[in-house]
Symmetry: D2
């Protein structure tokens, strides 16, 4: 940590900061520059990251040198984490092989779910997605089937063999969902629902953590850190678009986040082009771009009849379009040395 | 709702949309323009707001006419809602008299809390704020005292007579916090934690709902709608800064949201300049601006010794500065015909 | 255009709007809904797009149906525009073959420019980029060589045969730059320098128009419309990142803008991953993603010795890295049915 | 400047950075921390602010300590700059007395201009605003009267005695506008039109510099620095809203920028609530808030008949509403110890 003093800071002010640093067991190193005096802090700055040094008299600004997260970082673990999914543990997210999680936005009925599950499996998806507990912006719209939806997913897994990923939105549901699902999804609106992160961090199931709508990459990694601190190191990061001023797409897909995350962290990174764009015709081009940018997989919304979908029909692909996209993705995967 | 068809939409495509609208009990009204055909929908469009009409063949775009919220709107209730606070029900937020909620970011000890509580009361604050359950961006920082902090707040209320407002961050804590606190606070990171909104909507305690970091005004009102739909109509809205590209302040305080919210909704609106700016020296100018813009009150962080604060020391006012600010605020309040 | 009236709008208010629409030669169509009366406008709404109907008494909101641009739109011209570049007119941007414009951020000397020009040509770039007139955020940094830099570019073209693209930043320079360069670049900070757009719109040279730092796609297309209205239809659009809250990259590359622009407009679209990310190590992944997303080409900064670059050294590729990237791009191009 | 090295940076890498710093005449100070080695740079870091040290081998990041601007800063000049306006030099912007610049968005005719000019003068405005050269987003809308509009403004000044402020949008017009106007306005879209800034910096007329739509405060101050470097120190800064995701207002008025700018710089700061909000009914509350926040003045759009305005009718106040607002502003001004 570097503490920059104001032009004209007094000796008393400098001494006050120096003493406070020493109190916390760190070593201050005062250096008088031409225009400013600066104090370098030797030691683990994380022990004082909470100290409001910027308001100490004479202090101009405080510049941390270390990142605030640790367990998620490449420095902590240099090799890529592989997240193992499913009862037979055959799927590894983060390796050479890409994985596509596909299925309906919301589970609407067992029949509709089965239709999609079989279709996406036939096209090469390896994990089935589907929302049972749905967070909806308006209280006046379909809220999901809840526990019943979860049972439909379990049934679909039994019939297709596809592991299932589904969202958990309430600390009270974590135990139930962790017992049934293969991957627990933390949705974008809950990325900083810290109680939920803590609870999920204590399960032994892989977690799919979606980036918050306006979360910085640093905050995104800190959210993963919450779960890793609790003991759950099986975290998959998911870029799904951030909020900007542009309204032609529902969100702005931040694909540069993929290589940035992979350089800062050892965790696998997938991309959700369906929620990012909110328009089905943009899903395929953005899915291709995501793979080209280095993503380890994708999450795609598929619905047999989007016109009848109870949520997110706008961005859902019909099975034939999903199938065609998967063929194109295979070519892109090969072009970047991956398999699909 | 207006449905704009693509240039060259066929009769079949138009008929398909028309029929779907009729199926939902609404009346379509087709109008052929010079360049485009449009279909107006007569009836309560909220019954089809979930229908993905934009992906129907031949449809270019769908434009809703009504707002997606109802109970929070001025059209539903034209006169200002007064939120009554405290056991003796003497405080009314939303009336001519402004209310200032002040106190530490986090409850750190009973002694520290009492010092601040007495100071802010002496300066004119009418409600005591303090965090017991703290949502923190990093898992490595102080997480709040929890239930013990809540007890300290209750004790401070007993001694000062000030009603207390504190955050609830977990559905499992709602009952406890609702039993003890006078106002339940929903923090910015939980504005779209819908399960929490639903749970809080079933209590009979006033709620302070903070705007999400990147929530639009529409989403903010829909979050309030969640609680009102559950039966709790005692909601206070709180503008606390939104996330933008500017980094000189922690967030960008959107003061225009105050008159906008008050024109769209009947609910009272207060402003939190402490979290919005993240810098104590900006709190007083922004507090004054908030009152001038028409806010019904303020939420301010005060700490007896910010250098020692376990969270948000950067933005906390010392009691003497808070006192001075309150004197200035009285003048602004008078200038806009309010009382403080 | 649809005009939505307020709940309770009077007959006088409705008549006032109706009459105003008629005065402009358009036909109003009044429709009384359950909750609101709406007025549809039949005719070319662009003739009243400037009329502030939203402030007319009784009016709630005004919803345009047509886009405000015309010449740039797919409706105006359905087939892709090919922009022909260079004296021998062999290069066509917008066709099956992708084009990469590469070179230094700023022209620093003839010698340095030649080194890079020959290197990028050898690796497959077909157009040479280089800044002579540089817009710089700070007045205390290198401002470009100006006319001398332009001469170096002309010299490099003579020796390599590569057409040159360079920025013009002042209406007074348009004639000079249009005489020398093969493509005139309008930089991101000048996307709404309307005088410059008008001036460039009167030349007969192709234009590379960069998206403004916070320009919506609609504004971007309107900027192109300015030049097309002046008679210059040879416009290449360039996505180069927008400003968001994320600070890990200099800007956020909005790749979804590529398919969106290509659906709304007939103009070719290229991507500049160098400026978008501001970090050389992100250039290759984002270049690959851009091609996968459907871009018609790229603009890449290359410098023989980035450590010595007078501007944007952080994001410049060394020739060997550029060469390696071009090999990878060829595979992606093939995977999406394009050539490079 | 602080240079943070990567974990595991080699001695050769450190020496390479050290040598480069010495080459530029500065003194490196190497300090080995527990986790990282850092290099402090002693001397005027502005001489190396252009050096891409972040890409040197072994370097993790570079943290500047000094601001990139100098002449605009409080450190360079600690007392407030007063900008003197008008031929009789009686108006000083930046002192105890607030100044309101009011008038139509665009000059439409001499007659309309005179009506407004006399009205705003009667209500207490001290400077007349009006656009002759108009930057418009669409080429299909009214583009201003140009030189004729400028003559109308001169005529209005003659008749009312009010100094005039008007925008200049082209380097070729600077001489003309500087000869006629009392204040040259640089519009938001031209804040980084550096050629225009340089040209205006060489005139001896006060400048009103509007913040760019997505300009950071640092970039805003650097734009002012451009003009001050050219010799023109009479710069008034104008906050006018920034672009965010919120669409209820045209832009988001960043009022915290007012106290931030006044702490970083000695230049006066005014606020334009008309363009910031885009809605006339929000102008008065935001004008009041701006004064409460410490602004030195306001810029307000007034039109005798907004329904007929050729631009920005939505946000223009009618003279009676402007008059009423001025009365309210006087009370706010008094409450913060200012005069109006």
């Amino acid at each position: 940590m570097i503490i920059v003093l104001k032009h004209g800071a007094t000796k008393e002010e400098i001494d006050h900061v120096v003493q406070k640093i020493k109190e916390h067991g760190l070593t201050p190193h005062v250096s008088e520059g031409k225009e400013r005096t600066i104090i370098g802090v030797i030691g683990d700055e994380r022990t004082i990251q909470n100290l409001p040094l910027s308001i100490f008299p004479g202090v101009d600004k405080v510049m941390p040198i270390l990142s605030p997260y640790k367990l998620v970082s490449r420095e902590f673990k240099s090799d890529d984490t592989l997240v193992t999914v499913g009862q037979d543990r055959k799927i590894q997210v983060g390796g050479k092989r890409l994985h596509v999680m596909a299925g309906p936005c919301a589970v609407e009925s067992l029949e509709r779910l089965m239709t999609v599950a079989e279709a996406v499996k036939a096209s090469g998806a390896t994990i089935l997605r589907g929302g049972a507990f749905k967070p909806r912006t308006s209280p006046h719209t379909f809220q999901g089937l809840g526990a019943e939806g979860l049972e439909h997913l379990v049934e679909a897994r039994k019939k297709t063999g596809l592991p299932i990923v589904t969202e958990v939105v309430d600390t009270r549901d974590v135990e139930l969902v962790a017992r049934q699902a293969d991957i627990l999804q933390i949705g974008t609106r809950n990325m900083q629902n810290f109680q939920l992160l803590i609870e999920v961090g204590q399960t032994n199931k892989p977690v799919l953590l979606k980036r918050g709508l306006s979360a910085t990459i640093k905050e995104f990694l800190l959210a993963a850190e919450y779960m890793m601190k609790g003991g759950n190191h099986q975290v998959i990061l998911c870029e799904r678009g951030i909020r900007t001023f542009e309204t032609q797409t529902r969100n702005t897909l931040d694909l540069a986040a993929v290589p940035v995350l992979k350089s800062l962290s050892h965790l696998p990174v997938i991309v959700d082009p369906s929620h990012a764009t909110g328009k089905w015709e943009l899903v395929a081009p953005m899915a291709k771009a995501a793979i080209a940018a280095g993503a380890d997989g994708l999450m795609i919304e598929v619905h047999a009849n989007p016109e009848e979908a109870l949520s997110d029909g706008e961005e859902s692909l019909k099975p034939p379009k999903f199938h065609a996209m998967m063929q194109e993705l295979k070519k892109i995967a090969a072009a970047v040395g991956r398999e699909l």
